[in-house]
Structure formats: C-alpha cells, structure tokens
Subunit: 157 residues, 2 copies
DNA sequence: CCCATATCGTTCGTGTACGCACGATGGCCA
DNA sequence: TGGCCATCGTGCGTACACGAACGATATGGG
C-alpha cells in the first residue's frame, strides 16, 4: 500500500498562537500513556495464551490465586479497579466458571470470591506466559531503560 | 476511615510454585500502564476545564485545530484511534456542534472533518490548561525523570 | 474497459472504566 | 440502645477500544 500519510496533507497551521510554545499532543504524558497502554493490551492479547482473557481479568485471577479468598471490593482495590468495573469483570469470570462466590459469613454486605479449580488451572497456565508478555512489551528498551520505566511508572501511579 | 487494607487479609500463598521467581502483577509494565493511564485520565478530567470533554475528544480537536481539515480515517491514524472508535468520538463531537463534516469532493468514500467556530473557541480555551494537566500528572517526578519518562514512553508506543 | 483488490466509513458485539444513585448492612457514639 | 454515617454490592448511563462484517467507492493491471 505504501500509504504515505503525509501525501495530501496541508501544512499544519503551526506557529498559530504566540503563547503556545509548541504544545504537541504527541509529547504529552496522557497521550503517550494511552498509546502505550493500547500497545501493551494488544501484545497481551496475542501473547498470554488465551484470547478470551483480558488484562483486567488476568490481574484479578492472579490476585485471587495469591490470596485464595477476597471480597469483591478488596480485590478491586488490590488491582486498581472501580467497584462498578469490578462487578462486570467478576460477573464474566463467574459466567465462565473461573471464579466462585459465597456470602461472607461475618459480614452480610460482602461477597467472598475465589478461583474455581478450573480457574486455578487456567491462571497457572497463563502465568507461564506473563513474563514473555512483559518482555515483548518492553522489547524496544535496553535492560536499564526497562528498569527505569518500571520505576518511573510506579511513581506516578 | 483509616482503612487498613491489610487488616483481615490472609497471607498471600507466596513461594507457591518453584518456577515462579516472584512474578508480581504490580511490577508488570502492562499493569502499571493501565494504572498510570487511569490516573492521567482522572487528572485530565478535573484539570482541562470542561468536564464533558474526554482525553480522546481533546486529542482529536487539537489535531483538527492544527490541520484545519482531515478525513476521519487520517485523523484516527494521527491520534492513534481505531476507525470504529473514531466513529464514536466524531459522532459525539458533531452532536455537540464542535465538529463539522462534508463529503470529500475528490473521493466519495471520505468524510472531511473540521472544527466549527465553537469548536475552535473551545479547543483554544482548553489548550491553555493542557500544560498544567501534563505537569500535574508528572508531579511526583523530577524534571529529569519527566524527560526520561516521555522518552521511554515514546519508544514503546 | 473490467475486475480483483484496497480503502473508507458504519454497525454490531464485547469488554473496560467510572460517576451516580440505590438498598442493605455494619460500626460507632451520644 | 437508637440513630447517624460509612461500606458493600448492584444497576444505569456514558464513553473509549477494537475485531469482524458490510456496502460503497477507488485504483491499478491485464
């Protein structure tokens, strides 16, 4: 296709306003984070080993694998998801028989979540591919840059 | 509230499998990118000056402000959005009278997009807040770390 | 000139993401 | 002990995000 994007483009208006000392959207953190997150998700999807498992579902299962049993709200805090978002993620995992729930005997407001045997089996299979997904995502970086990126991201989360 | 998350937590199963040399989800790029993107979006929403404008809508308007007129597909490529996603973003911007469209006289498949006067007025107002939003997002970092982060993110996008 | 192939925009389905409001429950303090 | 306030999970509305399928249009090679 040789699609040359710049082909029939007019020049950017540029030097538009005097105050804007070159504000380029491509250089803003928020923009770059969105793009980087998109790419990471795409790599995850092909590399994790099950096209039906999403990054958030994976995070949730990994945490449930660590803690055995967690309330829905606490799980959400541990993986950084809104309770409304968590609700949807958990519902889909339950529909697929990967997660089970029971009322918390000590607090009737809570639902305790845990992996089913099937869920445990799956997450242990996916965990094998986890490191490779992370490696692939950071492939363009040197080892030192990879450590830097992780450190910097940790600071702004 | 003093909500101590670790209160009634069982110990993580830890040291579970011999092969897993401490794979922590919190240290994976994909996970950190998701969290960082969430935080950046939240900061954008309160800082950009109009709670009804989303980051993607903003990016689109900024690009249209630079180029005056673009096809929907090309705009999508410039701001890193799928054509299906672009369709929804553009539809909402049109519904609010911020963007106009006309058929491309030279290619009947294309739709040419441009900002309305109202859209131009708005984006120029929002652009004033853009730098502050980026600053706030990277506040936890030193000036040097901020430059590093932008550089590293550029490489993995 | 015609047809295979590509591009453009739309639609549908699924899945995050989150604010808000709601009802039920729990904890604490007057 | 009774009432106030916080927490828990759910439901609703809106907005990205993207694969897949679709019809209309463009283009280039035979």
């Amino acid at each position: 296709m040789r699609g040359n994007v710049a082909k029939k483009l007019q020049e950017p208006k540029s030097a538009s306003s005097p105050a804007s000392r070159s504000y380029r959207i491509e250089e803003q953190v928020g923009y770059l984070l969105r793009r980087a997150h998109q790419r990471a998700s795409a790599i995850f999807q092909v590399g994790i080993g099950d096209p039906n498992i999403t990054p958030t579902q994976y995070s949730s299962m990994v945490k449930l694998n660590e803690y055995t049993e967690l309330s829905q709200n606490l799980l959400g805090r541990l993986v950084g998801m809104d309770k409304a978002t968590m609700q949807g993620v958990v519902r889909r995992l339950k529909e697929r028989g990967l997660v089970d729930s029971r009322p918390d005997p000590g607090d009737a407001r809570r639902t305790l979540l845990s992996l089913t045997t099937e869920g445990q089996r799956l997450v242990n299979k996916l965990l094998i591919n986890g490191p490779a997904v992370s490696r692939e995502t950071m492939k363009p970086l040197t080892a030192q840059e990879q450590r830097q990126l992780l450190e910097l991201l940790s600071k702004i989360v």
